[in-house]
């Protein structure tokens, strides 16, 4: 027992890495396997107290540079619901366009920069430049265009400026949207190339399955990303208001990020959960891309999350073009956001970010200030599921060479695209044999 404690201490005093994999195997028996999160806590729920409703989205977008758009969306939705602020159809369309761009940006960063080095046996995307220069160049191009969506509509790729409660501080001009449409058209072949690349690399994905509960948003008329009800593969649809029942946050000593569970020991959120729950709402082209990469719903292999991300990129590019066409056909209106609170109370905003479903929940007082805030991020929701995956995976691969086990564990965690990481090799793997 003392040895276990030693490992934890050892890891906490290490200077590198914000997350560590801890695995104990003794006499062939698995004693412990979990992902340790040592990222410094930032206390957003505490610092939101007393802040004005116009500041909430600005502050919470700083929770994460990569999911900044998603945090803004969830935050704005929560604030608008709490204060009775309504938004126009144009605002919703522009927000969905931003969501498409942010999804492509984040997924491509993960699939091609962070995960694909594993598939081709390289240590990083930099090491891929020589042999796989075209892949890197195409990844950069797709990412550039995805960021352009945020720049044109949001004013900036990281921490967008224009989305505020009630609408946008600036509406893009039709010429800007037309130019953006052309750019998105240009990356459609690059996304096809990415699908083909993944199809060829599919054998590098470990053959591992663990069926779990899959939770995402769901709506009737489209593949749910910006809006919808909560949907669980175990119990079906649940209103967003009941999100606490579907998250049940709890603290574990090995993680500064809280863990979650819903209807069983753990659940999964993110691209694979969305694919499993809503695949029939994907565009036809995205469905064909899934078939080409051998992704079929329901898929119980968490490593396939990266493939589901590529499928979503194909869908989002098409969706972005469709939205731009609709905005251009209707004609852009120079709307000013109506930011006047009509009431004061509680509002819950749920949206999908690249890594999964995200909730913001605020209570406002009459001084237009937050008195209570709750934010539940996707990576936190996935952590318990990652731990359970590792506990099933390790005994299955225990006879393989040590490097192979390490690689498969790293790839597993990476497949979830955890937001603590933003890294290829942030993981230190500690074995006690």
């Amino acid at each position: 027992m003392g040895v276990n404690l030693d490992i934890n201490v050892h890891h906490l005093t290490r200077v590198e890495g914000h997350g560590n994999i801890v695995v104990n195997v003794r006499e062939g028996r698995l004693e412990r396997a979990y992902l340790e999160i040592v990222e410094a806590p930032r206390y957003f729920e505490a610092i939101l107290k007393g802040r004005n409703y116009k500041e909430a989205a600005i502050i919470t977008s700083r929770i994460c540079g990569i999911c900044c758009l998603g945090h803004q969306m969830a935050s704005l939705k929560a604030t608008e619901e709490a204060l009775g602020i309504e938004v126009s159809e144009q605002t919703v369309l522009l927000r969905k366009l931003l969501t498409d761009g942010a999804t492509i940006q984040s997924h491509i960063l993960h699939a091609l920069f962070l995960a694909s080095p594993d598939f081709v046996g390289k240590s990083s995307v930099f090491a891929m430049i020589g042999e796989y220069k075209d892949v890197v160049a195409k990844a950069l191009k797709i990412k550039y265009v995805a960021n352009l969506v945020s720049e044109v509509v949001g004013g900036r790729a990281v921490h967008p400026i224009t989305p505020v409660p009630g609408g946008f501080t600036r509406i893009p001009e039709s010429g800007e949207l037309k130019a953006l449409r052309e750019k998105i058209q240009e990356i459609v072949p690059d996304l096809d190339f990415t699908v083909e690349l993944m199809r060829q690399l599919i054998d590098s994905i470990p053959n591992f399955e663990r069926e779990t509960e899959y939770i995402s948003l769901q709506c009737d008329d489209e593949y749910a990303l910006y809006d919808g009800d909560i949907y669980s593969s175990d119990i079906g649809r649940v209103p967003v208001e009941e999100y606490k029942r579907m998250t049940n946050e709890f603290v574990v000593p090995h993680s500064t990020s809280k863990h979650c569970r819903a209807n069983r020991e753990s659940y999964m959120v993110g691209a694979l959960a969305r694919f499993n729950n809503n695949h029939e709402k994907l565009s036809e082209k995205a469905q064909r891309a899934a078939e080409r990469m051998n992704l079929k719903a329901p898929c119980y292999n968490p490593y396939m999350n990266t493939i589901a991300q590529v499928v979503e990129c194909v869908h989002c590019a098409e969706d972005a073009i469709r939205i731009i066409d609709r905005l251009l056909n209707c004609g852009l209106k120079d709307e000013k956001p109506d930011q006047e609170p009509k009431k004061y109370g509680r509002g819950i905003g749920a949206t999908e970010v690249p890594r999964g479903i995200l909730y913001h929940d605020y209570i406002y007082d009459r001084k237009e200030q937050i008195i209570k805030a709750d934010c539940i991020i996707p990576t936190g929701q996935n952590l318990e599921n990652i731990d359970y995956d590792m506990r099933k995976l390790v005994p299955e691969i225990i006879d393989e060479p040590r490097e192979e086990i390490v690689k498969k564990l790293e790839m597993l965690v990476r497949a979830y695209d955890p937001c603590i990481s933003c890294s290829v090799h942030m993981l230190d793997v500690e074995f006690v044999e």
Binding site: I59, R62, F113, V136, L140, V251, H425, M426
Partner: protein
């Protein structure tokens, strides 16, 4: 800066959102060019390699745990030039908002009875712990300013950075003054260099680049009072990114 061999450049991140790191990865086209002139020896966000010594260390994020203190001291020892990047590293940024609350209450709000599991310090900028040679401001830092400072340092020059208010850049862009339109704005007290990006997109300046160095805080609050904002409100808004720079 270095006569022979490529300059060794490293990137590190502390408490923050990694948005500044991401902004570097978003340099897309320039990224491959940069790699021809320097050796990136550590960059946790994108690679695995580690090095013993760095010519230039770019450091993002605030110091907010005892472990951060040890790590930044270690990085300083190994670095010839240390550059703080982004609001979290240059003045504490959004993280330091927690400093205006009772620290125990902050910890209880988030972790309740488990609050003792994770040691916490008030969020601090890097210069509170180690010597910082240069600062690239902003939340997030701009890619333009990062490239400008980066190029200067690689060429062995001292980077030139503005120390006047965002209003100067906003006027140059011929934007209508937001304060005069009845919108709260921190342009008059905030350090320029962003090209008045937020006011140009119809959003007020939120002060993410920190205050100009010769700020007259009382006078600036007087100005905001003239536009109808209470002292309490002005101070609170100025706090959002600048808790560690406030003099009241």
């Amino acid at each position: 800066m270095k006569k022979r061999g490529k300059i060794k450049v490293a990137f590190f991140d502390f408490t923050g959102c990694e948005g500044c790191q991401l902004n570097k990865l978003n340099l897309e086209n320039q990224l491959l060019d940069i790699l021809e002139h320097v050796d990136i020896v550590e960059f946790r966000e994108a690679m695995d390699d580690k090095a013993e010594f760095y010519d230039i260390a770019f450091v993002e994020g605030s110091i907010s745990t005892p472990e951060c203190v040890n790590r930044i001291n270690d990085i300083r020892r190994r670095s010839k030039v240390l550059v703080a990047i982004g609001a979290c590293a240059t003045n504490g940024g959004i993280n330091s908002l927690k400093n205006i609350h009772d620290i125990d209450e902050v910890r209880e709000t988030v972790y309740r009875e488990h609050k003792y599991l994770f040691p916490t310090l008030p969020a601090m900028p890097l210069h509170a712990i180690v010597k910082v040679d240069y600062k690239i401001y902003g939340c997030p830092m701009t890619q333009e300013e990062f490239l400008k400072v980066f190029k200067s340092l690689v060429m062995g020059k001292k980077p030139q950075q503005p120390d006047y208010a965002v209003c100067v850049e906003c006027k140059l862009k011929e934007n209508e003054c937001l304060l005069q339109r009845g919108i709260f704005c921190l342009g008059p007290v905030t350090r320029a260099g962003c090209g008045a990006r937020c006011p140009s997109f119809g959003q007020s300046c939120i002060g993410c680049r920190g205050f100009v160095s010769n700020i007259n805080q009382n006078a600036s609050i007087e100005v905001l009072k003239r536009y109808g904002y209470s002292v309490e409100e002005a101070v609170k808004r100025m706090n959002m990114f600048n808790v560690t720079e406030m003099k009241m």
